[in-house]
Amino acid sequence: MAALITHSSILIIAIPLVTAFLTPLIGMASKKARNALVIAILTFVAFLVFALARDISINGIHIYTLGATSPDLTIPTGFMVPVRIILEVDGMSILMGIIWSIVTLAAAIFSLSHIASETGQNRFYTLLLLMVAGGFGMMFTSDLFNLFVFLEIASISGAALIAFRTKFADTQEGGFKYIVVSAIASLMVLFAIGLLYAQYNLLNIGALAQVIQYTTPDKIALALLLIAFTMKAGMVPLHLWFPDAYSVAPASITGMLVITSHACMYAAFRVCFTLYGGMLDAPVVGWILIVFGLLSMFVGVTMAVFQKDVMRFMSYHAISQLGYMWVGVGVGLAVLGNPELVATYGRDAISGGVFHILNHAMYKPLLFFTGGALFHCTGTRDLTKMGGLAHKMKWTTILYIIGTLSISGIPPLNGFSSKILIYESVYQFHPILTITGIIVSILTLASFTKAFHSAFMGAELSEYKKVKEVPRSMIIAMVILAAGIVFITLFPSLIVNWTIHPAADALIDQSAYINAVTGAIP
């Protein structure tokens, strides 16, 4: 078990990567064996993630140096700086890993029935596993060039999965838009990495953070990295591609794509807090995040109320909710240079933002899955054509209500726990942030009520007389996420103390991240 924990970070990335290429071979022999393999592998990866999380909570930051005689030998003999690829997993990375492992497992289970009638399923699961590997790589790597590589893996597989259902014309358009946006964002990330590498001859985030000077090229690199990740996360006004792409993907993939947006958000936070840390002009960069957050919250929710396509409606809400996280973490970043303000409300604001990532990762994929369930049963995403479906889809209705109450921040559900942390802390920074947050929450509830009434309420419609509840695997996947919501709802303090505060502290404490790499000189 100790050896498994030691190598867990690389195994979490490598196992889905290798299985991705085995899947088509096994799929040619037996579909059932392929499906069982995908679920078994993702379950095992989730087990490894939780085992690694436990290890990190006991022993601190986990380091893994690829190709070294010992995994913790970060700087080879005769060198002054790390030259090998290093995986560094701290409180923030492992929180993202936990989220990714749960959502990918639920998405794979949901896919078993959701794409059962589609052709090319071998390729679907190959791409799904590649996306899983890319996501974990982005979350665990401490190497900037590796971050770019894993971003590319996740983006290319994501684009192919968006365009997977080739029988629909809009999927091709969505996939095309996603790959163009991703390619431009990735190229800008690569250009920024080039600017940093040209000056410091380093790619490791910890080692770079130790020597970075915040020169003019560093500032340009920061702008490129920040805006590239902002666009990939889907923040207003760089969100325009988001509903076009996310609404046409299979619902299981849309659930995963939301977490890749979180991963890009994580990368932006890692750049601001860990790479630049104390060197950057924290109030200015903090306000940039806050402005993007406020715009996303308000424009996202008002655009969502306007939608008639259930998946576009959900997509705009995802944008709106991402805004809460940026506002929370942005306030924490804005006061990063003032330890007194960090202690007073900065840490709570970051904790609220990070907690909202976890909560959003439970209810948003659940809501996308319910949207997928509606499409699965009715064959349309158009809410104007739906009605009375609660008579036929009782499980989906109940799960939709859980997701709706959670996203709207209705007590006692988990969405409220993170929103109250954000509201109370950002109010100290500027009251308008809290007021906007509350207005957006009210609009969120209003728009979800509208969609609920349109799709589920009313008498049974004649065109849906033959509709049945979705297959069991889709319900199981939704129940997994709903169980996550219920668990966080009941034990908010346990979750905050075990995962959220360590994650927030990992962002604030830049020196711990640096020392884990540079302090391990033999």
């Binding site: 805006i227 008002t302 006692p412 109250i420 109370e424 008498a459």
Partner: protein
């Protein structure tokens, strides 16, 4: 206590809310149980009365998504006209927004550092 979340200024206990919710549900159920049970089903007593007008079939009475919040959209028509303008669906426009946002951020960071 694992149930109590300290927010730094106050605390949040989901159990209290759940208990209150259960109590309210019990009270509502109690009043519902005391409701009139002796009405005659499938007679005029149980039918919808709409000022003597003919009531449409149940299926036709369903209010669709396009008819909900009409007043909200009418009031905010100008806001929606403005906010819908960038949503062209054209990828070139999306990239232009990216270029503009990067340029503005870079200028802000450079000016702030002077």
């Amino acid at each position: 206590m694992t149930f109590i979340l300290e927010s730094g200024y106050a605390f949040w206990n989901p159990l209290i809310w759940i208990i209150v919710f259960i109590v309210v549900m019990v009270v509502v159920y109690f009043f519902r149980r005391r409701g009139q049970k002796k009405y005659k089903k499938d007679t005029a007593q149980a039918r919808i009365f709409l000022c003597g007008e003919e009531v449409p079939e149940a299926e036709q009475r369903h209010i669709r998504v396009g008819n909900i919040y009409w007043g909200f959209f009418e009031t905010l028509k100008e806001y929606y006209n403005q906010v819908l303008r960038p949503h062209t669906g054209i990828i070139n426009d999306y990239v232009l927004w990216f270029v503009a946002a990067t340029a503005i951020s870079a200028i802000v960071l450079l000016i702030a550092g002077l």
